[in-house]
């Protein structure tokens, strides 16, 4: 009875099933990265709810391609680790080669420098002067000549560096509250 139970819990695919799952998952990961690059939107800040739905559906649609009808514990875990490993490699590669980062996640754009807007950059990024001014006001500034630089970051936010540093904004990520 116990042996049977353990056999059902710690199941694994026979033969080279694990290798096949790892291989298929690797192909899926590369395909996902390439597909999302073509999709155009590259950072979460620019995503709306439809993009999110698309990502969820995308992940669902590749499920069978990764693990097939393999229903073993080891099979799923191997697929998960393959994805995590490849993602880690991609991250490290982007940190190492900035050209790869530029290609995959894009580049920050200078919108205003030494109190003057840069119309060409604004136009290329589809940002209106009014949006830049809104970003200034969010930082408690009123006029462009108070600003050393304003930059459109790759996550779609505009950051503002004033001449006199009085404002310190943090990124808005907080750790979740713990249960008592």
């Amino acid at each position: 009875m116990l042996e049977d139970w353990l056999g059902q819990v710690f199941s694994y695919p026979g033969g080279d099933g694990l290798l096949i799952i790892a291989g298929k998952t690797a192909v899926i990961y590369l395909f996902l990265v390439a597909g999302l690059r073509l999709f155009g939107k590259r950072e979460l800040g620019q995503m709306n709810i439809y993009d999110l739905v698309l990502i969820i559906v995308l992940a669902n649609s590749v499920q069978n391609a990764m693990v097939g009808n393999d229903t073993t514990l080891a099979g799923g875990i191997v697929a998960a680790f393959t994805l995590l490993l490849l993602n880690r490699i991609t991250t490290l590669a982007m940190a190492r080669w900035s050209s790869m980062e530029r290609y995959l996640v894009g580049q920050a754009t200078l919108l205003s420098s030494e109190g003057k807007l840069l119309p060409e950059n604004l136009k290329r990024e589809g940002i209106t002067p009014e949006q830049v001014m809104a970003a200034l006001r969010e930082h408690g500034l009123e006029r462009l000549d108070q600003v050393r630089i304003a930059v459109l970051e790759v996550d779609g936010t505009i950051s503002v560096v004033p001449y006199e540093a009085t404002i310190h904004r943090s990124r808005r990520h907080y750790r979740a509250l713990r249960l008592p």
């Binding site: 073993t72 099979g75 995590l84 880690r88 940190a95 980062e101 995959l104 580049q107 790759v154 990124r171």
Partner: protein, 163 residues
């Protein structure tokens, strides 16, 4: 395969889900759990794909309501137990979740830490600009927190205007 009682099956799937949860937690810890704060679209797709990849490992393709409930119950139980354990043993938490990493000290960028954490030059500069600074030299401290966000402590004001 022999026919088993529903209770036997539920206990099997409870245990399988718990194993999956623990393995995925360990996996995220090993492979850069730190980037949560700087997630890009590829990370999001990866997380969703991981969730799907382990689905069969938990449910074995069985659609009975009781088995689904056993899996959900198992995941929630694991989460709750971890929370309780971390509350009582904060040391264990720092080992499992990692500790904050120093990236900038007194205006000097610590390259080895940056490389190890997989932080890009652009991410570091973005964090600085979000805190109203332009170059690493203007920061007294730059720290990668365990939740993946980058905290920046500027040097004091008169120093900054000279910089």
């Amino acid at each position: 395969m022999a026919q088993h009682s529903l209770l036997f099956d539920c206990s099997v799937f409870f245990a399988r889900s718990a194993m999956v949860a623990l393995c995925v937690l360990i996996g995220f810890r090993l492979f850069g759990k730190r980037q949560l704060g700087q997630m890009n679209i590829y990370d999001l797709a990866m997380i969703m794909a991981v969730a799907n990849a382990v689905q069969n490992a938990m449910t074995a393709g069985r659609g009975e309501l009781a088995i689904g409930l056993a899996c959900v119950g198992s995941l929630l139980t694991v989460g709750r137990i971890l929370t309780t354990v971390f509350l009582h043993y904060p040391k264990l938490e720092s080992q499992l979740l990692g500790t904050p990493t120093l990236l900038i000290e007194n205006g000097r960028v610590i390259r080895t830490n940056i490389r190890r954490e997989g932080i890009t030059e652009q991410q570091l500069l973005t964090a600085l600009r979000e805190h109203g600074l332009e170059t690493p030299a203007q920061a007294r401290l730059g720290i990668l927190e365990v939740d993946g966000s980058l905290s920046v402590v500027p040097k004091d004001l008169d120093q900054k205007s000279r910089a």
